[in-house]
């Protein structure tokens, strides 16, 4: 095991600094902001609103539609060409799958709830930050959901199980890396997103997931605090 100490001095199970906010986009019906380290995601919810085209209507419940987009200057390398890519479409899909299990849209058949996610800067873990921001935005919009989904990447860097990999760890050159984005329903511990790129044994996967539990609770706390802060601020202003 060559990677004993993390390059930025974090403990193995420690996330980067988290900032979460709600109500950041006034034009939207609900919005959220989630920053973890240098990965920053804005999410806006519009709807439920009328769904075009008609042939996509679900007469039993409303549809949840996510659109993930990296701003052109947000990548670690060259400029990201604007417009949808295979990558952004796949991430939009896995985001929908991660969020749908908590969402109750039975009140609005045939309609659609749009969740738009924009990332101004990324330093790995962008789909997880996007899911965490989207949850805040949906709760802020008053969408019925049994919990807010919290997401963070876990993984193995050269034999060390770690939480919240940054770009440097994800691109670690001197050893094997496994990058495992995970989304969890904090109140039940159920997992709604699980992907992996890299190399890890079954035992390592289990260890990495186990180790991340406090991080999910920490993210869930930050998400809840973000919504509450929005309303507490108004109450505070009134008192002054």
């Amino acid at each position: 095991m060559a990677y004993k100490k993390r390059h930025d001095g974090r403990k193995p199970a420690e996330t980067r600094k988290i900032i979460a906010k709600a109500g950041v986009i006034p034009k939207a019906d609900g919005s959220g902001y989630f920053k973890i380290g240098d990965t920053e995601a804005y999410a806006a919810v519009y709807g439920p609103h009328e769904f075009h085209p008609r042939n996509k209507h679900d007469p039993k419940r409303g549809t949840l539609r996510c659109t993930y987009n990296m701003m052109p200057f947000s990548g670690q390398g060259n400029r990201v060409r604007p417009g949808p890519s295979r990558r952004s479409k796949e991430i939009s899909l896995v985001m929908e799958n991660a969020l749908r299990p908590v969402t109750d849209l039975s009140d609005c058949p045939n309609a659609v709830v749009d969740v738009f996610i924009e990332l101004p800067q990324t330093d790995a873990g962008s789909r997880c930050a996007a899911i965490s921001a989207a949850s805040i935005a949906m709760a802020d919009a008053g969408i019925k959901m049994r919990d807010m989904v919290a997401a963070v990447a876990v993984g193995m860097v050269d034999g060390l199980p770690v939480v919240d990999l940054d770009y440097e760890e994800e691109a670690w050159k001197t050893g094997d890396v496994a990058d495992i984005p995970v989304a969890m329903i904090p109140s039940t511990g159920e997992i709604t997103l699980l992907q992996m790129d890299g190399h890890a044994s079954t035992a390592e996967l289990k260890k990495a997931l186990e180790q991340a539990k406090p991080a999910f609770q920490q993210i869930a706390e930050a998400q809840r605090a973000a919504i509450k802060a929005r309303y507490a601020e108004a109450a505070k202003k009134v008192k002054e």
Partner: protein, 257 residues
């Protein structure tokens, strides 16, 4: 266009009041932060009333165009993402966003603020390609002016990435910035009825008879213009609008440090 809203706006303008209570030549309260995006070579985050725009400058290394082997490139793109306003939908860039991109682009290009020849690394082989991307988070009007102002600020802040074996290392930035010979600022004046106003909101923009974007530099010289809207303008109108735009641009210079 909503005629009832237009009439209502017009009536209020007769009394010198805009829908949000501003005077006709009043800019919304504005804050600008720079260097907010770690992955960009230069960035500015501008908030003006409810308008909220992130602008990033990305400087890549690329091959020059064959017809101009010793010139780098500069390109401005504005995207009207559906996040920023319920009116915008998913899909290819709208004509509105293309116009905004082009107007900001021409303002910077025609002012010759950036000498494209200075962006040459090796003639015919490698040049710096400067991309300015304007991304509104919350769109409430006046994208061209705010994108243009934030764009020039982000360009001023930008630092070239380090060159390692002909490749850009985006994790290490040099101290070298882009040399700006002047600071072009676009200001859009809209005409509603007989009134001229600046810094229009989304609603005001939607009912404007005509608009004129005037980009000017420090000494008040004009470097690009674009007329928009359906109604024609008289020479007298244009004179008033240009004067107001140049005066406003001078006032906005205090935001560029």
């Amino acid at each position: 266009m909503n005629n009832a809203l237009k009439e209502h706006i017009n009536q209020a303008l007769q009394k010198g009041v805009r829908l949000d209570g501003r005077k006709l030549d009043e800019w919304r309260p504005m804050t600008i932060e720079t260097g907010t995006i770690s992955t960009a070579e230069g960035s500015a985050h501008i908030k003006c009333g409810e308008m909220d725009v992130v602008v990033g400058v990305k400087i890549d290394v690329g091959k020059p165009y064959p017809d101009r082997p010793d010139s780098g490139t500069l390109m401005v793109s504005a995207e009207l993402r559906p996040m920023s306003n319920p009116r915008y939908e998913l899909g290819p860039p709208s004509i509105e966003s293309i116009e905004a991109s082009r107007v900001i682009d021409r303002g910077i290009r025609e002012s010759e603020a950036i000498d494209e020849k200075s962006l040459c690394i090796k003639k015919g082989e490698q040049v710096w390609m400067v991309n300015v991307d304007v991304c509104p988070l919350n769109h409430d009007g006046n994208l061209i002016d705010l994108g243009g102002l934030a764009g020039i600020i982000a360009l001023k802040e930008a630092r070239l990435p380090k060159l390692v074996d002909g490749q850009a290392d985006f994790h290490v930035h040099t101290k070298t910035g882009l040399k700006l010979s002047c600071l072009p600022i676009p200001v859009t004046v809209v005409k509603i009825g007989d009134n001229f106003l600046i810094d229009p909101t989304f609603d005001e923009m939607s009912v404007a008879d005509a608009r004129l974007t005037v980009t000017s530099v420090e000494d008040g010289k004009l470097c690009s213009m674009q007329k928009g809207g359906e109604q024609p303008l008289s020479i007298d109108d244009i004179d008033k609008m240009v004067t107001l735009a140049v005066k406003t641009a001078k006032g906005l210079r205090k935001y560029i440090k």
